[in-house]
């Protein structure tokens, strides 16, 4: 263990206590509601795959069709599980797939069961979803075996590289090449439109914009391709995707089933940057985090994004506040500290005096505040101007800060950020930069101890103090009003606006979500 800042324990305890107070009303709100995507995720865990060949252009998944028809016929307030498994238990349908076919044919007549029928439907639903969670558990055990066989990367931070061609069959050789070149984690970023699609596309896809669609088949193909190189490289290469947007719970379920290893999953990102309704987001993220917890997936939170719109010095404390809230929401959903890749970024204007010392102070604050979390360290983007030579230097300093402050996951910065999507040579030069810094200075954290009362120590305490002040205010006003007022990342997002609000439903007494019951150990 290397040198760390020693934070004022009273201030740290107060920060956590306030985060818990601020999060609780939102957690209560999340447990009182369900969403179309949570209900679809229940069906996905029970094994319903494929699309309705007739509706639209044949791209609408069965899970969407079934949830929509349940909603039309009996409402969603009891959940999709009771009416669907009532149809199966009563013999009206022979299987889940048969329910879907009947929905497609327009012959499904769904009802919310009562009494003994309800009990039978409940037992059948729990068994079906339980089998799906069994597949998630098996994937987790498989990962543990593969890590035991091939080993983890030999050092921290893990090197995280992005692949994004739009075509899964182009992504695969690029991802394999990136792994051979030294990447420990491969992220396949999504097509930019996907976060606002209210369904998960199906099959292997070749036509994304600035990214590749997240689909179950794409997940499976990429994981298999990386498994092939793990043996060759003698280390387990992790795969990342994005549980964000309107289908967060479903993507989380698919990630668990297909053994993805990390998922982007932020409590507030969709609200602030995608204008997704706050309630929809909090309901969806709670479910998705429970799935991640169960699947042994490491989540990555999105605090780096705040600093792309807000000033990295003035607003540093909003990153800390968001990390504390993300930690609280994650722990409540059952995630353990080793699964919390809390985000932060190197985004201070390099033209300001002491910018690197300020970066170190912020990075060390996060390290000290979350000593057991891996922390995801994001490279400069805002001040990458197209001056690729200056950018290469800045990325070197970013890498140095990462090594010096024991970051767990380091996203590799590209000198051509904001110029082009990375070329082969950009990625190669960026990895050379990382390797040089980690080889040259990877152990420097052992010698590096900022003195108490010095610049770094004082700055870290200032930011923590500002974070506590802001948390006091959020706790007093409520988290939803704070988001509505533009507290994070400047964007204002009221709770009664935003995309996906029509997919939020208040649960009735007796609502059954077999997935949540099983994951919370209630059934």
């Amino acid at each position: 263990m290397s040198a760390r800042l020693t934070l004022d324990p009273g201030l740290v305890a107060r920060a956590r206590e306030l985060a818990e107070l601020a999060a609780q009303p939102v957690i209560d709100l999340a447990t009182r509601h369900t969403t179309v995507s949570v209900e679809r995720a229940v069906l996905r865990l029970a094994g319903l795959e494929g699309t309705d060949p007739v509706t639209g252009e044949g791209e609408i998944p069965w899970v969407n069709r079934v949830v929509d028809v349940v909603r039309e016929q009996v409402g969603l307030e009891h959940g999709v599980a009771l009416p669907v498994w009532h149809a199966i238990a009563s013999g009206a349908a022979s299987s889940l797939q048969d329910v879907a076919e009947q929905v497609g044919a327009g012959t499904a007549r769904l009802a919310v069961p009562t009494g003994g029928d309800e009990e039978r439907a409940r037992e059948a639903a729990l068994a079906a979803v339980g089998a799906g969670l069994g597949r998630v558990d098996a994937a987790r055990r498989r990962r543990e075996e593969l890590v035991a066989t091939h080993g983890d990367p030999p050092r921290r931070p893990w090197i995280y590289l992005i692949v994004a061609t739009g075509d899964i069959y182009e992504d695969i050789p690029q991802a394999q090449a990136a792994a051979r070149a030294g990447a420990d984690v491969i992220a396949v970023i999504r097509s930019t439109g996907q976060s606002l699609l209210d369904y998960v596309p199906e099959g292997a896809t070749r036509t994304g914009y600035a990214g590749t669609y997240a689909t179950q088949e794409n997940f499976r193909l990429m994981r298999a391709a990386l498994d092939d190189v793990c043996a060759e490289l003698g280390r387990y290469v992790r795969l990342t995707n994005y549980a964000s947007g309107l289908c967060m719970p479903e993507i989380a379920a698919l990630a668990g089933l297909e053994r993805l290893d990390m998922m982007l999953n932020d409590a507030m990102y969709g609200i602030l940057f995608r204008d997704i309704n706050p309630i929809r987001t909090f309901v969806d993220q709670r479910f998705s985090r429970m799935v991640h917890a169960r699947a042994g997936i490491i989540i990555n939170t999105g605090e780096d994004n705040y600093l792309t719109t807000a000033d990295a010095v003035d607003e540093a404390h909003t990153v800390t506040v968001s990390q504390l809230l993300n930690e609280r929401f994650a722990r409540e959903a059952g995630l353990e500290d080793w699964q919390l890749g809390l985000g932060h970024a190197f985004e201070i204007n390099p033209a300001i005096h002491d910018s690197f010392r300020l970066e170190l102070a912020h990075a060390m604050l996060a390290r000290a505040l979350f000593p057991h979390a891996p922390l995801k360290w994001m490279p400069p983007t805002k001040h990458m101007t197209g001056d690729v030579f200056g950018g290469y230097l800045l990325d070197g300093f970013f890498n140095l800060a990462g090594a010096l402050t024991d970051q767990g996951i380091l996203l590799v910065g590209m000198m051509t950020e904001a110029v082009v999507t990375p070329w082969l040579s950009d990625r190669d030069l960026a990895l050379r930069n990382v390797r040089y810094v980690l080889d040259a200075a990877g152990g420097l954290s052992e010698d590096f101890a900022p003195p108490p009362g010095g610049f770094i120590d004082r700055r870290a305490h200032t930011v923590l103090g500002e974070a506590v002040e802001l948390l006091e205010k959020i706790t007093a006003d409520g988290l939803l009003p704070a988001i509505a007022q533009g507290t994070f990342g400047i964007t204002k997002r009221p709770a009664d606006r935003g995309k996906g609000l029509d997919g939020v439903v208040v649960k009735a007494p007796g609502h059954l979500d077999p997935a949540t019951e099983l994951m919370e150990g209630r059934a």
């Binding site: 739009g166 090449a177 051979r180 070149a181 097509s191 930019t192 439109g193 976060s195 606002l196 914009y209 600035a210 940057f273 995608r274 204008d275 792309t308 719109t309 807000a310 000033d311 983007t381 805002k382 197209g386 904001a418 110029v419 999507t421 070329w423 082969l424 040579s425 190669d428 030069l429 400047i490 964007t491």
Partner: protein, 245 residues
């Protein structure tokens, strides 16, 4: 002298530096291939000062050399700024004196583009390059609709708010999405509002400012545009002094 050459350390030496990757494994043949390319680019004599293999079957080169080409500065065409740069106080003063109400500005990222960096830099109070964003201008009523706004939604909102100007930023350029989206934007406003449409301004790092007419918008801003330039342009385009109310 209007004819010039690149400058390394001596006038007229023509020295340039470039780097590129060829899909060949490293070795003497690869270096020869790089020199051949450099020669065809007009670099002569060229030196491959560095090369290394990338993965299997690729080599990266750094090349220095003297270009044989000449540049005639008299033949250079640039889009000069054709409006005066105003301070925030001057912008506010002009709106107050000539419009007698707030200037309504609406901004968004359209299509699937989720990169709000550009529009935020121009609109957010925080601003960009040391200049405050348009939200800071007292006489402007600014609404930033954020990312992934559909074109029909933007038209509806702009019409409801009686926007004087609509600002759209586009970062994602894959498959020319920025150009396609901008044409769609211009077409939708033209169809919905005809001559009464608001001033349409687009911006992004990969736009060519000379393309405004071709894209059907009033103004295109490229990389490095500051909020002050946008504010000054809005005043000059919407409230020209000579026809002030």
């Amino acid at each position: 002298m209007t004819v010039i050459r690149p400058y390394g350390d001596t006038t007229g030496d023509g020295m340039v530096q470039t780097s590129f990757t060829l899909p060949v494994p490293p070795g003497p043949r690869a270096e020869g291939a790089a020199l051949q390319l450099a020669g065809k680019m007009g670099i002569h004599p060229a030196m491959v000062v560095h090369s290394h293999g990338i993965g299997e079957g690729f080599t990266f080169f750094v090349v220095y050399g003297s270009v044989t080409h000449l540049v005639d500065t008299d033949e250079v065409e640039v889009e000069e700024r054709d409006y005066p740069l105003l301070s925030p106080a001057e912008v506010n003063g002009a709106i107050k004196a000539r419009l007698h109400r707030k200037l309504v500005v609406m901004g968004a990222c359209i299509g699937t583009d989720a990169h709000t960096v550009g529009i935020d830099a121009i609109l957010n109070l925080k601003g960009f390059a040391g200049e405050k964003g348009l939200e800071y201008y007292r006489e402007m009523d600014v609404a930033n609709l954020g990312a992934q706004v559909t074109v029909p939604e933007l038209v509806t909102r702009a019409r409801a708010a009686r926007a004087d100007a609509v600002l759209v930023s586009q970062v994602v350029t894959q498959k020319d999405a920025h150009l396609r989206n901008t044409r769609e934007l211009a077409g939708a406003f033209r169809e919905a509002m005809g001559e009464d449409r608001p001033l349409l301004v687009v911006g992004g790092p990969r736009f060519d400012p000379a393309m405004a007419r071709d894209l059907g918008v009033d103004k295109v801003f490229g990389r490095g545009t500051t909020p002050g330039e946008v504010a000054s342009y809005l005043v000059s385009a919407l409230l020209p002094e000579e026809i002030a109310a």
